[in-house]
Structure formats: structure tokens, C-alpha cells
Amino acid sequence: ASGDVVVAVTGQTINSLDIHRTGTNRPSYQVAVNVYDRLVSFGTKTLADGSLSYDYSVIEPEVAESWEFADDGMAIVFKLRPEGKFQDGSPITAADVKWSFDRAVSVGGFPTVQMKAGSLEKPEQFEAVDDLTFKINLLRKSKLTLPDLAVPVPMIINSKVALANATEEDPWAMEYLHKTPAGSGAFKVAAWKPGEQLVYERNDDWTSGPLPAVKRVVLREVPSPATRRALLERGDVNMSFNMPNKDAKELSDLDGITVATTPIENSIYCLCPNLAFEPFKDKRVRQAIAFAVPYDEVFQTAAYGRGAPMWGGENATPTDISWPQKFPYSTDLEKAKALLEEAGYGDGFEVPLSISQSQADWMEPTALLIQENLAKIGITATIEKVPGANWRTASLVEKRLPLHLETFGGWLNYPCYYFFWAYLEGHLFNSSNYRNEEIEALTAETLHMSVEDPDYAPKIKRMIEIVWDEVPRIALWQPALNVGTHDVSGYEYWFHRQLDVRGLKKA
């Protein structure tokens, strides 16, 4: 690849250019990042290993120049950059922002849910005061609101273009924006063939940040991981996004290839016993399983040691509120057996261990090793591969898998946010059907509470202590995102785990 063109490969398909659309898959979110801007963004920091990461603690202006909270704290007023321009040259106005936010909270599905996380729920909350002033009226004071404005969803759409292509049945121009982005971002989409490739071309008139260094980014879809590895290794591509752990481990020693491995924030790979099923109603059975997992083997075999261990914690009570942190379990079959005896399951039992076909890369070896160890304490687990299409329905919506592997990572990096999704009864990622009155109450209290609040840390610690003891989710490890580069620098890790091409530079 020559000059200022960067070629990247990924295994996944980008199926839409509009993150608000129903059916838009996760890999497509990067279009929202690269082609659209938001009011605000996060800062950038350098991690210990020298790689770049976004900085959750810093909110930076993007389309907005500045913002301030109303005196009662129940509104935020944003001042837009006067020079702000969409890719078609028209100015970015507060009306565009309002239309975009109205769209996000109205179309339903994922964008609406994500907006809600930041307490952004109704169009009435959004107000275009004048061309360059945009006001959000808050429903409640929440620490989540501002960071939630920096996630990909509240992107700012050129409402004039969109409206020109809207119809009666399609007031939000879903059809049009799905294939034709209308943003102000650093890159334009020059070509898009789903299943093949996406080509970004630099927007030379980008107004929301410094001009990117590369002119073109070609993102090729190569389904076979082995082929992706070969391509990077031979230097035919500049970047392999989301590499398998094994390749990351082996290629990181290679000259000319840099592998950035970043533990994914607020994310844990878990083994979940489902409390709706008999043996797992007993806490001791769950603990027994937690003691039976061959953590180290699993971590080495399934993750090739990439990521962070989440087992072997020293204390039964947390000393800080960092999340995720090591659970106080490690492999101890004696203890596991004893606990099972105590619970009256000394003779073991049979249980299906479900994994998702589409995440078989890590789930399968993990499940196999767990299965083997469970056999040692008398539990006969049969591995049940659930088709990808069925996985969400079975595990998260119907929550009917007795014992399964699960992963959840919160975009907003707070423990309470994780708890909100993963430990509250009925909430989507609580696939264990766990319910604990204290957790319910504590989560509700902490969710919007400021981190600085002196009550915050003790409450969080208490929450962590409870879920450590009751283990409805047995933490295995914190996964990492691997990105291999060759002749390219400036790769930055983002919580959304999508490729941000804006900072890339050819070496």
C-alpha cells in the first residue's frame, strides 16, 4: 500500500452506514465515529505500554466549542463552533443537532436505549436555542449524561440533506442515510460494498479537529483469520483489526509489526450459572463451580494470556472500586467438592454448558476446559453450541440457558453502570436471573450519583462484595482488543472497540 493510503483488514461486515438503523451491526458503528461528529468527545492518553487510548476522564469539544450546566444543574447549554461545516459545505446548526438527537431517541432499538442510559429520553429535552446554541433539559442529574454524548450514537446528522430525502413513511430518512452518510466527520465514505470493503476518504475541510494524516483508508473484509494474519505478516496490509489472541501473541515478537493489546474496559468474560435452575439456586453450588474453573489454563489456552486475569483476588471484600477487579476465587477442587457436598450435590449433577457458535473462538476452548474440571467434581456438563442467531434470544432475552458463557462490557466506564446491566433483575445482560434486593437498591442509588460523592465508594464496594460472595457471574478474565499494525502509527483504543481511523499516520 502506497503513500497516504492505509489498508486495514477485519473479519466482519459493515452492513450499514447509519448506526440508528434497526439491524445495523456492531462493526458498522465505526462509520458513526469516522464519518460523523458528536457534540463532545473523550480525550486521548498514552498507556503504560506506549499505545494510545481514549481518556474517559477528559471530555473534549468536538462540534461543540464549549458547554455549561445550568445553575440548577438540570440543563446543559452547548455553544457550537461557528466554523462547523458538514461534508457538503453547509454549516452545522443547533437544529441539526436537535434533529439528530430527536431521531436517536425516537427510532427505537439500540440508539434509543443507549440515549436513555444518559437520561436522554424525549425530543422535548432538546432545544435549539439559536443557530449555534443547543440546550439539553435534563430529567435528572446524572454523571452518565455527558459521557453518553460522546459515544457514537448521538452523532450529528446534516438534517437538511436528511429531510430532503425523508418521506412520509420514513420521516427519519432511514433508507437514505443507511447508504449515504450525511455527516461532518473527518472522513467520507468513498466506496462501500457490504461483504467486501469500505473505503474512507479524508474530508479535507474537517472542522471538528486536526486534519488526519492519511488520505484514504481501505477497510477490507477478510473472513478467515488465518488469511488476515498472513496478509499482515507479509506486509500486504497495514493493519489487522481485532486479531485473534494467538496471532497477537505470536506476531508481537515480529519485526515491523506492532501489536496493541488493550484490556477492554468494564468488560469481563464470565461463566454464568442460571439461578432459575435448581442446583444453581444454592450459592454454594455457584461457589463450587467458581472454585472448579481451571482459570489459568483457560486464560492461557483461550486467550493466550492476552487480557487481565480476573481470578485469585486476595480479599473477600474489595479494597477499591476499580472495575473489573480480581474475584476472590481460584482453582481449588477440594474446596469445590466440599462446597458441593455441603449443598447436597456430592454426587454431582448433569447440566448443559451453552456457548455461542459465533463466539466459539474463545468460548469453545474455555467450555472444554471447564467441562473437564467440572467432571472432576462430579458435574457432567455437555457442551451445547447455540447458533449465533439464537444466542441473544436464548441467553439474554429468554434467559433460559442453565450454565453458559457470557460477556458484557459497558461503554460508560462505571461499576454501577455494569451492575445496572448485568446484575439487576430482568435487565438484558443479567442472563443468570439473579436478584438481590440490596444490589437492586444500591445500583439505583449509585447509578446517577457523582463519583466524587463520599457515599459512592462504600456503596460500590458493598455491591462488589455481594456479587463476589454470591457469584451469579463467575469472572474468568478481562478480554483484550488486539490490533496489529505495520508501517502505521496512531492507532487509538476506544471503548466502543471500533476502528477510529482519524489519528492514523503512515510510518
Binding site: 488465518a226 485473534p244 494467538k246 489456552t301 467450555a367 472444554l368 455437555t382 457442551i383
Partner: protein, 294 residues
């Protein structure tokens, strides 16, 4: 009156099927080879589990991804399982899948094909359209669809493989039955008081068997490949069961990183089996059709 009787009947009496087989095997080294290979497969399938040194399911993270050595003839996989043991033990399952699938399609295809070929008319037309419909599907994708819809268990893989093969048998039987439907011996059987069903089942159908045997042996190979293909796209049998297709599919990802043995040995076993069945088909054809010989 017995003049021409004896001398007109040549020495063919000594030429029993066994003698013929021996002859074909002896004169065609490739077929002999195929039969020898077939024997190897059968032995591995019957005694596989007692032939191997390691538990094919036992993992050992500390000896993962070791290249072939005297300890592990075919090396170990990413979970530290012995590839040799897994390859040998998988023989039984792979053969079972293909044999069960072929048996199923053989039986169903035979019945439907015989009915269509013998009675003809609207029944034939309907059945033919049915077979056409199955054939009009991209067969591999149909198999995938069936497995996806029913769930990926061994039985469902067998059913899916059987369904896509039914038309091949049905058409073959139909053609064979059809050419014999009005043959002299079928009519003679009717004159002897056989009902249509008896004529079909006892007189016509058995004569369609030899060409079917060829199809069977070829299809055994197809069935194994089919199951392997399903595994490759993640619709194969359940882990940790050892099955060649899965092993190749998973091992394929390790080739580029240099751990070639993961895919190579099961791939070789797969090829060995399919190769055997295909060669066997040719050999059987030679046995059935002496015209092909000089």
C-alpha cells in the same frame, strides 16, 4: 436332444462372484489398494479407541501445540489433546455418519424411486418434481439449512446429508426399474402370478442393486466431505467430540502460524477415507460391469 446343450454352455459355471472379485482385485492393483485401505478404516473404526495411547478428550494446557514427536505422533492441539488419538477415534464417528446417512438415503431413495419407476404416471410426475425440487436447492446450503433449523446434532447432520442425497438414489433406481419394468422377466413374473408389488420388490428391484452399490461407495465419500464442510462453517458435531471435519476446520486457522499438524493429519484422514470410497466405487463398477475390462 442334448447335443448343443453342454458345449454351448462354457466354463462360466466356475466363475462365481467370489472368483470374479478375486480376479478384479488381482488384475487391478488400484482396486486392491482400495480394499486394503478400506480394511484399515474398518479396523480403525472398530478398534480405534483401544488402539490409542491417550484419551482423545483429555486436555493438557501445558503440552498444547506440540509438533509431532514420538510421544505424540501427530502432535497436540491447542488444548494439548493428542491429535493422533483424536484422528483415530474420529474414524468411527465419521464412518458412522456417512454410513447412516447413505443407508437412509439409500432406503428412502430406493422406495420412492422404485415406485416412480414402476408405476409411472402421475405418481412418477409428482415424485420427479419433488426430486427436482430438492436438486434445485444448492445442496450444501440445503444441508446447512436443515442442520441450522433442527440443531447441530449428529442425527440431524445425518438427516440433512440423507435428504440431499435422496434424489440421486431415487433417480438411479427409477431409471433402473424403468428399463426393467416391461422386461421379459417382469412380465414372466406376472404370468407366474406375482402381484405388481411382488414383481417390483422381488424381481425388478434386486437387479438395480449393482449400479446402486457404486453410487453408495461414491456417496460415502461425499457424505464425509459434507459433514466436514458443515463442521467448517460451524454446523458440525458438538465439541469436544473428535471429528475430522471439525479438526481440519479448526486446524486450518493454525496453518499459517506454522502448526500445520493440526489440520494436516485429520485432513489426511479425511482424504484417505474419501479416496478409499471413491476408488472402491471404481472397483465395484469394474466388478459389476465386466464390459469395461478388456
Amino acid at each position: 436332444m442334448t447335443d448343443s446343450a453342454q458345449d454351448l454352455s462354457p466354463q462360466t459355471t466356475t466363475d462365481g462372484p467370489l472368483a470374479h472379485m478375486v480376479y478384479v482385485l488381482r488384475s487391478n492393483p488400484v482396486t486392491l489398494l482400495a480394499f486394503a485401505m478400506f480394511l484399515v478404516l474398518i479396523v480403525a473404526a472398530l478398534f480405534g479407541p483401544s488402539l490409542v495411547a491417550y484419551d482423545p478428550l483429555a486436555s493438557n494446557a501445558s503440552r498444547a501445540l506440540q509438533p509431532p514427536s514420538w510421544d505424540h505422533l501427530f502432535g497436540t492441539d491447542n488444548l494439548g489433546r493428542d491429535v493422533f488419538s483424536r484422528v483415530i477415534v474420529a474414524t468411527r464417528l465419521d464412518l458412522a455418519i456417512s454410513i447412516a446417512a447413505v443407508a437412509l438415503s439409500f432406503v428412502i431413495g430406493s422406495v420412492l424411486g422404485a415406485i416412480a419407476g414402476y408405476w409411472g404416471g402421475w405418481l412418477d410426475a409428482v415424485l420427479n418434481r419433488l426430486f427436482d425440487t430438492i436438486m434445485a436447492f444448492p445442496l450444501f446450503v440445503l444441508a446447512m439449512g436443515i442442520v441450522a433449523a433442527l440443531g447441530n446434532t449428529v442425527e440431524n447432520i445425518v438427516y440433512a446429508t440423507a435428504v440431499i442425497n435422496i434424489p440421486f438414489y431415487a433417480r438411479l433406481v427409477r431409471a433402473e426399474v424403468n428399463i426393467r419394468r416391461d422386461s421379459g422377466f417382469a412380465l414372466a413374473a406376472k404370468l407366474s402370478g406375482n402381484s405388481d408389488l411382488r414383481v417390483l420388490a422381488l424381481h425388478i428391484y434386486p437387479n438395480a442393486l449393482p449400479p446402486m452399490m457404486v453410487q453408495v461407495s461414491l456417496n460415502l465419500g461425499w457424505a464425509i466431505l459434507n459433514a466436514a464442510g458443515l463442521s467448517f462453517i460451524g454446523m458440525g458435531v458438538r465439541p469436544p467430540t473428535a471429528e475430522w471435519g471439525i479438526m481440519v476446520a479448526e486446524g486450518a486457522n493454525f496453518i499459517v502460524s506454522g502448526e500445520w499438524w493440526l489440520a494436516f493429519f485429520p485432513g489426511f484422514a479425511l482424504m484417505f477415507a474419501v479416496f478409499t470410497f471413491n476408488l472402491l466405487g471404481d472397483g465395484l463398477r469394474d466388478m459389476v460391469d465386466p464390459r469395461q475390462r478388456t
